[in-house]
Symmetry: C2
Subunit: 360 residues, 2 copies
């Protein structure tokens, strides 16, 4: 069962929760904006449903609500940012802004982040670059749920990549995707509905492909994009590895099987080689390559060509990356954001714990 809530009501609630755990007003607003962008854009798994998870990380002192986020090394086009164990929802916009500022100066900016936490959806951070006529890139590693091709062991997170590219009259091109066949949030939806998984999503503890949506709790693993060797899962494994290395080995964060888990009740890995989780951000000024308007005209032409590509079924045209999210955002701003009853109850209990009223 679901209930609809206005964006404003959820925003106000989440913002007060972040203030109660010690965030400044400014950082609470930033964190809430990052978090709720997921609900607006239809990525329900990464939005306000995770608020209680962030609070639990704060309770076990894995999230620092008053971090001193800072650049610890830099060159004209690069920086490493120490998130000081802050909310990734706040660390990520800080680091992306550093990338954008560097791009203003020397054409591009590239920032690797250590000592951070889960940053919500990657796409919203990449999109920060759009207003400056830049291409934005965001990626993050995450705790290991994914087995590399040929292995039974969980060695990589779902390690998403987001790329936002400005257009002219068309909406921006915004790709944002896990480097697994399916993100863990998609799995959770099928778990709740007790439905089988499609082929290529998961394997059991022995490495045999499985359609059991609960396989991860039984020692199984998610599969890299491609599914199996014939479907080229080694390419998904390579993509997830690149995200892991750019985000965490370049910055000095934890990588591979040592990335801290999001659920606060799961014990931390032992012998961790770095600090917190890692992110990677990039910004490329369009006019560091060619005049921005020329580029945008060509992107419009690119988008229009793909929209006009002959569909296999007339009812389903080719989708431009970012289009479905824009439709969600429009609909949900107008009609409200649907929350499952379990999420509503969870928010109520967060509200009671921190004495923030959650009005239904």
């Amino acid at each position: 069962m679901e209930q609809l809530f206005t964006y404003e009501k959820l925003f106000s609630f989440a913002e007060q929760v972040f203030i109660k755990i010690g965030c400044t007003q400014k950082e609470a607003t930033t964190a809430t904006t990052s978090l709720l962008s997921a609900d607006l854009r239809g990525v329900d798994s990464h939005g306000i449903a995770r608020l209680s998870g962030y609070v639990r990380l704060w309770e076990v002192q894995r999230v620092n609500a008053t971090p001193n986020i800072k650049i610890i090394h830099e060159t004209p086009s690069t920086a490493v940012v120490d998130g000081d164990a802050g909310l990734g929802l706040v660390v990520a916009p800080f680091a992306m802004q550093v990338a954008i500022d560097k791009a203003k100066n020397v054409g591009t900016g590239w920032v690797s982040v250590q000592n951070s936490n889960h940053f919500g959806i990657a796409g919203i951070h990449a999109m920060m670059a759009l207003q400056s006529d830049m291409i934005g890139i965001a990626m993050t590693n995450a705790s290991a749920l994914v087995a590399p091709t040929f292995s039974k062991d969980k060695m990589l997170g779902t390690n998403p990549i987001a790329v936002a590219i400005p257009a002219g009259n068309e909406a921006a091109f915004v790709a944002d995707f896990a480097t697994t066949t399916a993100a863990n949030g998609k799995l959770e939806i099928l778990q709740r509905k007790n439905k089988p998984l499609p082929k290529g999503w998961a394997q059991n503890k022995d490495g045999i492909e499985s359609i059991n949506a609960h396989e991860l709790k039984e020692g199984g693993a998610l599969l890299p994009l491609g599914g199996d060797r014939e479907g080229s899962s080694h390419k998904g494994y390579m993509l997830g590895s690149i995200v892991d290395i750019f985000s965490a080995v370049l910055s000095g964060a934890n990588y591979g099987p040592w990335v801290p888990p999001f659920p606060a009740y799961i014990p931390m890995p032992t012998n961790m080689p770095g600090k917190g989780i890692g992110h990677f951000f990039g910004a490329m000024r369009i006019d560091a390559f060619r005049p921005a308007q020329e580029f945008k005209n060509d992107i419009d032409k690119w988008i229009q060509a793909f929209k006009k590509a002959a569909p296999i079924n007339a009812a389903q045209k080719v989708i431009i990356p970012g289009e479905p999210e824009i439709a969600y955002e429009k609909e949900r701003k107008a009609n409200g954001i649907p929350l499952l009853d379990v999420v509503v109850k969870d928010l109520q209990s967060v509200g009671e714990k921190l004495r923030v009223h959650f009005e239904i």
Copy 2:
């Protein structure tokens, strides 16, 4: 049937062929090194088997053997290079060197290339960065053989991505992969053997998945990494699109369905929006982020952890990207490069045409 040839013999032949079509000695050596790296590394589809294809492009004046390759726009961390219709095998190393030089100055370098041709394998260009303790990135677009998710139309090339990452005691991490389930070269191998395709590789002209290895000649298309919608082919479509835009829209080359075909006998697309095909290169200096030795120690640790991940079958351990290519290179340098009889005949006819002796 196959025959073995030494690297030196093939090198000398290809170099003379490039000189005969008008390349300088230096550019002939560069082109041959790029081309034969594919044969050494086991990517037979992209090596000397394509030499006759490059010659035919020169014959129809689509390849300029004496190009004036130059930077046409730049900032401290970026450049656009005009390949002047030169061999991609020569243009790519030029552009990658520009990226490396910029990284030396400001931490990273990013170069988008217009007006180029097929550049061989992406990995070898990305690997140029390794000797300077940099991460190297190379990508290229290619003529449209791939249908985006939900479409019957061929709109993208197999658009590969290569990322080379320096290690310490371990061999470098080198990922190099088409953003389709399978590269076209893999398809060609099954065509020659008259074998069916695995699931998720191709679709017929109506957009129905197909196991016919000859489907492309009958109006079909290759499928993006992921295969079908359930397998998340939209992610492969997004990756291929990003490569296309970085390589060609940033530089002013042709993109999407307008990319010139490799076979010289296929007519050029009409109303082409740019110049030639496009590439994109990046170089990131490791010590622009953290001390190179610290990074390399962590990469070694990363690689060792993945090598030790529990295999599903004891006989097949987890593969580190780049490992198979190193094994090929060692074996082929020692024992020679195997060429199919059809390739040998093709080289002989190139030799006869240009009066370069091809000794068997």
